[in-house]
């Protein structure tokens, strides 16, 4: 462990208590990566503060000594945003798990950052409310992590992302000061610093208390599954649905290869011979859902759907979602290794981009399974390869990178929900010019003039360039634990 970090340990113990500081090498190693295990580094020291004052004292100590710190929630991130540093302090929020308040009259909840996303919904559900952002790891991922990553989920098509649901924050700045931003009242005076903070990937400080909006649970939810011969036909159905003025809460698509994998893994029973499966979910007032479900079914048939199933109760709905939610884990069964990509294209560019991905796949001999949020053009191609085969990993990485290039070429984004982290920091210049990146850097330095908050994440640094994107083997670690699904 580098000396500057070692020197802090007695004072960290004084702040967090002996049980709140981890120095043992084997224990530290359990924090060496987030869910993107390709990037790993053993943290210099791990602290587990129990409240705002402890977080602030730890960060102040880091600031005094110029030691970097890395915030970490539940470690479910997929861009190595919580990758530790051996010369730094890893600040985990796992002991800050209190729900302070469920305030139904003001439709909000006040929570600590370590609270699991789904636990807010569990606490609000008896009152008929829920917390809308639903990343697939929602059983375990922390709200603080959601704030850092501006997490979305399958239903963000209609309900938006974490940024649209955070009303207030208590933040420990990289200088160690405690600042309250927003709250239960709308439109706090001055700059929208909450808007800047959400999605800042731990580079602007650590959120220690979060006030989130609660959403009234919908009167009716209806899920339609439609099977098509090709993804083109499925894509045509999506375009027709959007053009008809329908705003579903979720629109998901899987191609033949991902359907095959899901079938092998969980026997989801999707229609035989489908080249694409489309899942469309509608929610809202019963009258609207009924009217729009009929429109969706009609448009799917007109686009060539050969089988349509509709689910109006939670059990049937869960059966439809089972295959979709297991798709990533399932791919581990049909391929020894794979890369998960996360790119976005304008929805109307989907058919073209999917064709180009198929061409890339054919040319390289690398199979690509496509699972995607079709409603908002967020692709999650799974690039499959055999890591025992010499050169396969390199070719897979090339295909994965080429898919991102396609996204940028079509006016899209290099990440729709997984974040930039370390993994995509060197792709940022492909999407943003030097003055754009400079503007980002201005914001970062306004919060963190010393550059100690999660350094080398989000923005490119010379040291990072040239590293390969992440490669994963087999099942996602969280899925293997039964702790969550992965989209």
């Amino acid at each position: 462990m580098p000396e500057p970090v070692r020197a802090l340990i007695p004072r960290l113990r004084a702040i967090c208590g002996d049980d709140g500081v981890i120095t043992d090498t084997a224990q530290r190693r359990t924090y060496e990566s987030d869910a993107l295990t390709y990037h790993a580094a053993v943290p210099g020291v791990v602290v587990l503060p129990t409240g705002t004052e402890q977080v602030a004292a730890v960060v102040r100590l880091c600031a005094e000594h110029g030691v970097p710190f890395v915030p970490r929630g539940a470690g479910t991130g997929l861009s190595a945003g919580a990758l530790p540093r051996d010369d730094g302090v890893l600040v985990t929020t796992s002991r800050m798990r209190r729900i302070h308040e469920i305030d139904i009259d003001n439709a909000c909840a006040v929570v600590e950052p370590g609270v699991a996303n789904l636990d807010i919904t569990r606490a609000a559900a008896p009152h008929g409310y829920y917390y809308a952002p639903d990343p697939s790891s929602q059983q375990v991922c922390s709200v603080g992590g959601n704030v850092a990553e501006n997490s979305g989920g399958a239903h963000c098509l209609k309900y938006g992302f974490t940024a649209n649901h955070v009303l207030g924050l208590e933040v420990v700045t990289p200088g160690g000061e405690v600042v309250r931003l927003g709250g239960k009242a709308p439109e706090a005076p001055g700059y929208d610093l909450i808007g800047a903070f959400v999605g800042s990937e731990g580079t602007l400080g650590i959120a220690t208390e979060i006030t989130v909006r609660l959403t009234r649970a919908p009167e009716r939810v209806s899920t339609v599954l439609a099977a098509f011969a090709t993804t083109d036909a499925g894509g045509a159905a999506v375009s027709a649905i959007i053009a008809a003025g329908v705003l579903p809460s979720a629109v998901e698509m899987m191609d033949a290869l991902s359907i095959e994998a899901a079938e092998q893994a969980v026997a989801c029973g999707y229609p035989k011979g489908a080249g694409a499966v489309l899942i469309v979910e509608l929610d809202g007032p019963a009258s609207d859902v009924e009217a729009y479900a009929a429109v969706v079914e009609r448009l799917c048939r007109e686009a060539g759907a050969f089988e349509i199933r509709a689910a109006d109760d939670p059990d049937e709905r869960a059966r439809i979602w089972k295959g979709r939610k297991s798709a990533f884990a399932a791919v581990g069964r049909i391929s020894p290794a794979y890369i998960v990509q996360d790119g976005v294209v304008p929805r109307t560019a989907l058919p073209d981009v999917l064709r180009r991905i198929a061409e890339l796949s054919a040319r390289s001999g690398i199979r690509v399974a496509n699972v995607f949020h079709a409603g908002d053009g967020n692709l999650h191609p799974l690039v499959l390869f055999d890591d025992a085969e010499p050169g396969a990993a390199e070719r897979a990485a090339e295909v994965s990178g080429a898919i991102l290039d396609l996204c940028i070429e079509h006016g899209g984004s290099i990440t729709g929900e997984h974040g930039v982290g370390v993994d995509k920091a060197c792709h940022m210049p492909a999407m943003f010019g030097p003055s754009d990146l400079d503007a980002f850097d201005r914001l970062r330095r306004a919060f963190d003039p010393q550059g100690i908050a999660n350094p080398e994440k989000l923005l490119p640094t010379p040291r990072l360039c040239g590293e390969r994107p992440a490669v994963r083997k087999g099942e996602h670690p969280l899925v293997a634990e039964g702790a969550g699904d992965v989209f």
């Binding site: 979305g152 700059y191 919908p218 053009g377 003055s435």
Partner: protein, 423 residues
């Protein structure tokens, strides 16, 4: 003040940018601050060149759309160059993607008309008639639809700005789902041009709902708690209203106005259910009530803003109304009872100023998250009242805001002093 020689010197400094230049006059004043010169850049490139030249000469720039909210926020400390965004216009509508990129100087009405051709809308109300897109975004002013669709910043997915040094910086993009880079669009929204000149904005759009109904109920006996309880009950219902507005004129009972939108087959039933829930003699119609989404009162009235949690709103309204009653002046209130943002207008008089200052002082002294303010410097009490709480007090995060301002605009050349806290 624009002497001919001064204007000539400025033309020398800024002329090469390609912006059309003319001396500033009284009609261009921003809160009494008359610009030395008015510049109209013909395109974003010229705007960038203009800003770069202004920065080299340490000239203070202030952006203006159609000048419908010229003194929203505070009066700028100085104004050398007024930048008129009128020619930074144009609409690039990606119909199938439900996305539009708009030049900042485009009138909201023009954008609305263009989008309507494709059955789409930007779910943002132009609260002040004649506003430009850039003006709406820079002020962050939201209207009734905010209840269902969120404030303006929630619909911004990309933005291009010119920073103080003339560098052009974009963030976000043309896709709704995008977490690459910081969301600077949110930072610029409501920043009143103090961090950069907004040249274009990309928004996510919504389909125009096939049908709508307005439900109107007079709430008796007209006390604030009853009004707010009714608004909360509507929010907690399954009716998913797009807007819940309160219109409380100077004389007359308060009226709750509810907008329900959706499939034709359902809106009638939902509107009837809303009326039943409110329990009054409700009227249901398809056209908006008079004044829908507009600020209350007359253009010269004193304007106050209340931004409160729903449970805090009744007390805030009571404090305001009792201060007005004590002073013997009338107060008109209108705003979003569903989200807790209300505007109040008092016809200008010495007594009204006393009442307004008294109400704001009492509300600011009260604990809780809410805040009362004078949102428009042109309509704030004048001259400064000794009891008026300072503009620089009680702003959480002010040190961070100053740090952000210092990084984006180190020489304080962009509308300095215009935003809360004198930033």
């Amino acid at each position: 003040m624009g002497s001919r020689r001064d204007a000539e010197a400025l033309v020398d400094a800024l002329g090469a940018s390609g912006a059309a230049l003319r001396p500033g006059g009284e009609e261009d004043a921003v809160g009494g601050c008359v610009p030395r010169i008015v510049a109209v850049p013909p395109d974003p490139g010229a705007a960038a060149a203009l800003m770069a030249a202004a920065a080299r000469h340490r000239l203070v720039t202030v952006a203006r759309g159609h000048g419908t909210k010229p003194v929203w926020g505070g009066v700028p400390e100085r104004c050398d160059v007024l930048i008129d965004t009128g020619r930074l216009n144009g609409v690039d509508h990606a119909t199938g993607d439900l996305v539009v990129r708009v030049g900042a100087g485009t009138p909201m009405a023009e954008l609305e008309a263009e989008l309507a051709k494709a059955g789409q809308r930007l779910s943002v109300d132009a609260v002040v008639a004649g506003s430009t897109v850039g003006g709406v975004v820079a002020t962050g002013l939201s209207g009734p639809l905010r209840l269902l669709h969120g404030p303006v910043r929630d619909l911004v997915i990309g933005m291009t700005t010119v920073l103080a040094d003339g560098a052009t910086a974009s963030s976000g993009g043309r896709v709704v789902k995008n977490v690459a880079g910081y969301d600077l669009g949110k930072l610029h929204t409501g920043a009143l041009g103090t961090l950069g000149l907004i040249t274009s904005v990309t928004f996510r759009l919504h389909p125009v709902p096939p049908a709508r109904r307005f439900v109107r109920v007079s709430v008796e006996p007209g006390d604030s708690a009853a009004v707010c309880d009714a608004a909360r009950a509507l929010r907690a219902s399954q009716l998913v209203p797009s807007a819940i507005e309160l219109d409380w004129p100077v004389d007359g009972p308060p009226e709750l106005q509810v907008l329900v939108e959706g499939a034709e087959s359902g809106v009638g039933r939902r509107a009837a259910a809303a009326a039943a829930l409110l329990g009054g003699r409700a009227g249901v119609g398809t056209e908006p009530p008079e004044g829908w989404g507009e600020l209350p009162g007359a253009p010269d009235d004193l304007l106050l803003k209340l931004a409160y949690p729903l449970t805090g709103l009744p007390e805030a309204l009571d404090v305001l109304r009792s201060a007005a009653a004590d002073a013997g002046v009338g107060v008109a209130v209108r705003g979003s009872a569903g989200t807790g943002i209300m505007y109040a207008a008092l016809p200008r008089s010495a007594a009204a100023e006393e009442a307004a200052v008294d109400a704001v002082s009492r509300l600011r002294a009260a604990p809780g998250d809410g805040r009362a303010s004078f949102p428009d410097a042109a309509r704030a009490p004048r001259p400064r009242h000794p009891h008026l709480p300072g503009a620089r007090d009680e702003i959480p995060g002010l040190a961070l805001m100053r740090a952000v301002k210092d990084r984006f605009d180190p020489h304080h050349l962009l509308s300095p002093g215009r935003i809360a806290g004198g930033v």
